[in-house]
Chain length 268, copies 2
């Protein structure tokens, strides 16, 4: 499979003037990598902010991921097996092993491709560059960007109290942070269109600075240069919460407009 | 988990005048059952009729399921570990182990609940009865109905040739069969609303007569009496095809109207 996809990549003429393709290295990873997903984006949008999956349990499914914590207490950045929490007060802490998540996606990160970006690029340009590398938009992708950033704008949401309001309402009160001249890691997932209802179709990035002091859900950025590592995922395992909160959410309504409001660029 | 759900079921007052609840039997099944899904309904609707998953591979993920075969050559009924093919010429055959499917869902069937239906009921009434048993509509369910039917209407589609047309067009030429006074098995799945794009939200039934001579995708029925076995599924594993046909499908369009046309009751 990986060889096949690698061939497609090589045949698709992906050289950019501003990028440099590094050799495709065969990886000794599992033959059929799985993205593990807990709960659904539609449940989160509806206000199902309490899950039953612990950080420890999530880590058993991967060392790389994004999500949030119960009560929407901050943004999760799971990287190199450590789960960080970017909080609404601007701090970043390691999450406790027994803290729980209402929504997360994770995988055992084993990239198939590595490339470099040497020119300054906005979030929109970064997405266009990444998309140009992915001829098959009907897979999931986990992507790690290690970069120098001229600027990163993130958000984090403060912990909510019951009764929970829908995420589109809650996100209006989010904290927004601007970091300049920062180096760190983007933990990104690209989800295919057919995953609507379950995950965020398209790109979804969380950021963690190398000093582990800043991060969050990315609303905008200017990337000076960086290394991009790409892992296609042709398996997705969805764990559906069996708690009452999830069971009672109305997931039959179309929440795509709410999702756009919550996930889109909201620079201030 | 099963005990929890069983408690919810017992508490929800599910006794119908016309039905009889049998004891809930503890099952020695795996603790966290998985539905295995190959490809997506949106890809099938778009005309991605050739998959790479063999019948043999599908069986490694379950003994109970529904789907179709490459080129949409008939309807798949996977029951008790045997994969039947209800063809558009009205015959039913066992599928070869190396035949392939472009779309299927399967599980290792281990029901949590068994109940009986003693009164005559239409497909609509059957769905209402089943839905009344399921307080949590945000799970997947595998359901097996062993029944005496006054009437079953099924359809099957003839094998297509490339270039493949969308399923909503192809299904206009489907063969429709009416069976009367037949006994057999309904292999059914209920998919939650958030699975739109991936599977068929709501109920989806395939039928196989006990003599293995008739069957297909169910468009309508009159059930005289039967035994219903219900298995909640809180894990769904989606295997995404990596072939070019799947990669090239446009799954960003809303195909819910097409799906309704293809899957709905189409009695003649």
């Amino acid at each position: 499979l990986k060889n096949l996809i690698a061939s497609i990549f090589l045949l698709s003429g992906i050289a950019h003037a501003q990028t440099q393709l590094l050799p495709v290295l065969p990886q000794p990873s599992a033959p059929d990598p799985v993205a593990y997903q807990y709960s659904t984006i539609d449940a989160l949008l509806a206000g199902a902010y309490d899950g039953d999956l612990s950080v420890n349990q999530l880590k058993s499914h991967g060392d790389f991921g994004i999500g949030t914590y119960n009560r929407i207490d901050g943004e999760m950045i799971l990287v190199d097996g450590a789960a960080y929490k970017a909080k609404s007060d601007g701090t970043v802490v390691l999450a406790g092993e027994n803290e729980k998540t209402p929504f997360a996606i994770a995988t055992s990160f084993s990239p198939n491709y590595t490339r470099t970006i040497t020119a300054t690029t906005s979030l929109k340009e970064l997405e266009e560059q990444l998309d140009s590398q992915l001829p098959n938009k009907n897979l999931f992708y986990a992507v790690r960007v290690e970069g120098q950033f001229k600027q990163v704008t993130t958000r984090a949401i403060s912990p909510q109290n019951k009764p929970y309001k829908p995420l589109a309402e809650v996100s209006k009160t989010q904290s927004v942070f601007n970091f300049t001249d920062t180096s760190g890691i983007l933990v990104a997932f690209r989800s295919p269109a057919f995953s609507k209802g379950i995950n965020v179709p398209g790109w979804h990035y969380h950021y963690l600075s190398n000093d582990k002091k800043s991060g969050g859900h990315v609303l905008g950025l200017t990337l000076a240069n960086g290394v991009v590592k790409i892992m296609p995922l042709s398996n997705i395992q969805v764990k559906i919460p069996t708690n009452e909160m999830f069971a009672n959410t109305d997931q039959a309504v179309d929440r795509s407009a709410e999702l756009k409001a919550v996930e889109g660029e909201r620079k201030k």
